[in-house]
């Protein structure tokens, strides 16, 4: 399979491992800084919402978490697809590294959604299209991870969970549409989530800052997890890490 030498160079774990190691601190630092600024803006600059009072401040974590949960699923499916198409180990490792973080954000989106829903709608849970899609998304993340852990053969685990991730990416929009359709049928059972009121620009800024911070956090965490996966999987690593480990081993004698 000839896909160009450059691509092969970057797609090899050997090249990726040290690169990721150098990038992680940068992403982590910028993520923390932006999170600090975002929280400051969110709590001290953004005004009180005249309809929802202070409860609206939950959206500074809820909306970024919800966006990340969906975005990460798509990214995971893209890596899975690349892995299936090019038979590239690194792509499968990336897909594997993304799933737990995506699942965590999905869980957080559901939790903070309930926290927001109780004071605003008077109910912890509403069968709204977004909430339902998010719940199904959580199941799909769980499916991808469980399918992987229950298959012993690594190669098969990679490919089987990739197929499921790709099938799921088709499913989520259909679910969203179907629940919305279903709500029009069962009128009165649902409350529209659209706030109606215009957001103050400082609110929007704070929310976007938090989103970028979450995004950078995800990149840092996912790269770190990918590095762990590489150490675990490659029985004899040939990266700079190996030299350090041998050094340590010799000193230990």
């Amino acid at each position: 399979m000839s896909t160009g030498i450059n691509w092969l160079k970057y797609s090899s774990p050997q090249a990726f491992y040290p690169l990721a190691g150098r990038l992680i601190p940068w992403f982590a630092c910028v993520a923390v800084a932006l999170m600090g600024i975002g929280l400051y803006m969110g709590f001290f600059v953004a005004p009180t919402d005249f309809q929802q009072g202070e409860a609206y401040r939950i959206i500074f974590v809820h909306v970024p978490a919800a966006w990340m949960s969906m975005f990460l699923y798509v990214v995971m499916a893209v890596w899975a697809g690349i892995g299936m198409g090019l038979n590239a180990r690194l792509s499968f490792m990336m897909a594997q590294a993304i799933a737990p973080t995506g699942a965590m954000f999905t869980f957080l989106a559901l939790l903070t959604g309930a926290m927001w829903g109780k004071p605003t709608w008077g109910a912890w849970w509403v069968w709204d299209a977004r909430l339902t899609s998010e719940l199904i998304l959580l199941f799909q993340y769980a499916g991808v991870m469980l399918l992987r852990t229950s298959i012993d053969d690594m190669r098969r685990a990679d490919r089987a969970s990739a197929v499921f991730a790709l099938v799921g990416v088709v499913n989520v929009p259909i679910i969203y549409f179907s629940v919305q359709w279903w709500n029009t049928l069962h009128q009165g059972a649902s409350v529209s989530m659209a706030t109606g009121s215009k957001m103050a620009s400082t609110m929007l800024t704070a929310m976007l800052l938090m989103t970028v911070a979450f995004w950078l956090y995800s990149i840092a965490v996912i790269l770190a997890r990918a590095r762990c996966i590489m150490i675990e999987r490659e029985s004899l690593p040939v990266w700079d890490e190996k030299a350090a480990v041998i050094q340590e081993a010799v000193e230990a004698r």
């Binding site: 199904i136 098969r156 197929v163 359709w181 279903w182």
Partner: protein
């Protein structure tokens, strides 16, 4: 040449699977019994008020049909996987996806069609009659093949995996949600006097979509399982 060979391979698979089901009738009968029992439990649980039963009827029947399909998924590929027939299927000179369509068709004929045929009787238990009853049968007729197709993907993914029975449920049930919504929705809206056509066309759309996608995904999953 390949058109007729393809047809021969598919019809060969369907005929063989039907023959096998005839030899083991109890297997096929089990999912139907399951459906009847589950559906009969609900009135005992929620009480016999006809008004309540009429409201929950479509949902109960659809959820039961979905679970019956789920239970029978283990039979689609497992036996062929264990006795080596699946290897032979992967090696035939036709696209594997075409053959998968045959397997799915056979699965539907054995475990989906009986559910469709039985549904009017079960609908009567829940006080459905007239047009809603017809819509129920129609929705199951359009929806159960889709359930078989989506289920086949999950069944192929968990082949030979420990704890596959529970895992396949976890993988497949989220994918079944739209079918459940449209299927039960068709009956509900017909009862509300809106008519079930819109929901039925959506079920049809799902059927067409899964007919295009599911066989390929299943074929990919089968190749992965056999490596």
């Amino acid at each position: 040449m390949s058109g007729s060979n393809m047809w021969e391979a598919v019809s060969g698979i369907v005929r063989r699977d039907l023959l096998l089901a005839m030899r083991r009738r109890s297997d096929a009968a089990m999912s139907v019994f399951f459906l009847v029992i589950v559906v009969s439990l609900f009135p005992l649980g929620v009480g016999p008020e006809p008004a309540v039963l009429r409201i929950i009827g479509p949902g109960v029947l659809w959820v039961a049909a979905l679970l019956a399909c789920l239970l029978s998924l283990g039979r689609v590929f497992t036996a062929d996987y264990l006795d080596g027939v699946l290897e032979q299927m992967v090696l035939i000179p036709q696209p594997l996806a075409i053959l998968v369509v045959g397997k799915i068709l056979a699965h539907w004929l054995i475990s989906g069609l009986p559910v469709v045929l039985l549904s009017p009787l079960l609908g009567l238990q829940f006080g459905l009659s007239g047009e809603p009853l017809g819509v129920l049968v129609m929705s199951l007729l359009l929806g159960t093949p889709t359930l078989s197709m989506i289920g086949a993907i999950g069944a192929a993914l968990v082949l030979g995996v420990r704890g596959s029975g529970l895992l396949v449920a976890l993988l497949v049930l989220p994918l079944y949600v739209p079918i459940l919504i449209f299927g039960a929705g068709a009956v509900t809206s017909s009862m509300a006097g809106i008519g079930g056509e819109a929901n039925l066309s959506l079920l049809g759309a799902c059927l067409v979509l899964s007919l295009f996608l599911a066989p390929w995904a299943t074929a990919a999953a089968l190749r992965i399982a056999l490596e």
